[in-house]
Symmetry: C2
């Protein structure tokens, strides 16, 4: 799957991921109204609105981008109907040929981590049959529990030829509270980066590993160090745009061939029609066209650094 991701990035010339993290506030009145007419102001109604919103954005942007990253929390909060909308979104994006990165930030130990890996990347056995649970292509994983938490993911990745992105240095202001603690002269995130390199060394695609890393756009100096610590890891970069990361700051995350990193934008794309930049050009009912324009502009912005 890492090969597919790299190939799609080359084809589209777009090292970007669209984060499908809808909230009700982002979804235009007209989409909400239609869903509520059908299902009422219920969890099912909200889930339908989310799904229709996602579908429009995917239909309007899929030819431009290599991958999407649905954030499962945004669906999980709507209970079972929300998880149904998550699954529909994952399935639909895969049908459209997109690489799907499940932003699930799961992590536990042993058989529990194996169950998470199965849920999001693998197949579960039931009697003589086996089934995919949610079937993303990649999942984000939290490393706090150490190798016991990661190894079960590696097993499933090997079997399914899928991948993970391990949280190394997150984009948020307080990420330093624990991640930046200096141990033996080096910050914790470097140790995590080293482990990512080690975990990934046996799971190599053509030029990059199945094991990638999450490094926030808001910390370019750390990105520079981590790029060297994990030469074979694709870096998934959140925090561009809304969180303050700039295109210029993204340079250290990439290798000289323009590969090695893929930059996420969520709100900046899916809620583009509400932003100062686009709201005069695009009415709420044309939200998906605004998203397409925002994708085009983002690709141009990021490619300007090469």
């Amino acid at each position: 799957m890492i090969n597919k991701l790299v190939n799609r990035i080359k084809e589209t010339n777009a090292p970007v991921v669209v984060g499908l993290d809808p909230t009700m506030v982002m979804i235009p009145e007209c989409v909400q109204k239609k869903a509520f007419e059908q299902y009422g102001e219920t969890l099912e109604g909200a889930a339908e609105a989310i799904w229709q919103f996602n579908k429009s954005i995917v239909d309007t942007t899929y030819d431009l981008i290599p991958a999407v990253k649905p954030q499962v929390a945004m669906y999980e909060q709507f209970g079972i109907p929300g998880m149904v909308a998550f699954k529909k979104t994952v399935d639909y994006c895969r049908e459209k040929g997109l690489v799907v990165i499940g932003d699930v930030k799961r992590g536990d130990i042993g058989s529990t981590s194996a169950a998470y890996a199965t849920a999001h990347l693998g197949r579960v056995k039931v009697g003589n049959n086996s089934f995919y649970g949610f079937n993303e292509d990649f999942a984000t994983v939290n490393p706090y529990l150490g190798s016991d938490g990661i190894n079960p993911f590696l097993d499933v990745c090997k079997e399914e030829k899928k991948g993970i992105f391990v949280l190394v240095k997150t984009s948020n202001p307080s990420s330093g509270e624990f991640q930046d603690r200096i141990a033996d002269g080096r910050p914790l995130y470097e140790y995590v980066g080293e482990q990512v390199d080690r975990w990934g060394s046996e799971l190599m695609g053509n030029s990059y590993s199945y094991v990638g890393a999450v490094v926030g756009a808001t910390y370019p100096e750390m990105g520079k160090v981590l790029r060297k610590v994990m030469p074979k890891a694709y870096i998934l970069v959140p925090g561009y745009g809304a969180q303050g990361g700039t295109a210029e700051g993204l340079k250290p995350y990439f290798n000289e061939d323009g590969l090695g990193a893929v930059v996420n934008s969520s709100r900046g794309i899916i809620a583009a029609y509400k932003s100062e930049k686009y709201r005069e050009r695009f009415a709420p009912e044309n939200f998906a066209d605004a998203s397409r324009q925002a994708v085009i502009d983002m690709i141009e912005d990021i490619n300007s650094i090469f």
Copy 2:
């Protein structure tokens, strides 16, 4: 909810939690067969088997115990039907008066953490209505992303009078990889413990905080230190039994009043009928009776240390 947990522990005289982490291997043939007859060897069939298995164990043990801890990964791997079984289990346990600790180990930042908190502890707004997603009483939370990840949980806990258990020192062998890194002469888990104390200081129940901590039974020396670092935090202790933690080793996790900690056992209870200790006394179809006996024995074992 921390008050309810403490009161129920006093009433039952049982500082124990039953981990509802079923796998298909644990579920007796007879339960599986019945479910498969109804739904086939499908995800729905597996989910039905899990739900019936849980229900029998809850029906047979709920009068002895204060709380249960369903591990969501075990349900999530069965996709949507699995999540339906998770929700049915949570709802049923709450109906039975049990405190439900959702072992979800979620953690993200800002609005995403808020969505996870809403999913598992709070209510989501849809138009003029609001709904609970999964509605556990407590959730376990991963601290790797720092305060930005925890604060949204605290907001929901305050509003709903619910609680969280923050992963501080996990029970697995490789937990030390990152958690034990020494920074300024002290291990990372101590810093996390200090933050747990700080996060919890404004969310106090009668004698303990809404913000508890997870500290594995397999590291009693660290438990001793952490008990002092977080005097107001209830400690949820995994790793007893199957993972090698002993009753004697649990002493440091408790305060002198016999409160302050609650010990989880999953496999040791729910798969008791398969264990060497119980399998001669209990046939597979009497698995729930074996679980009851295992609960009684566990309570006696743990109370022997006071």
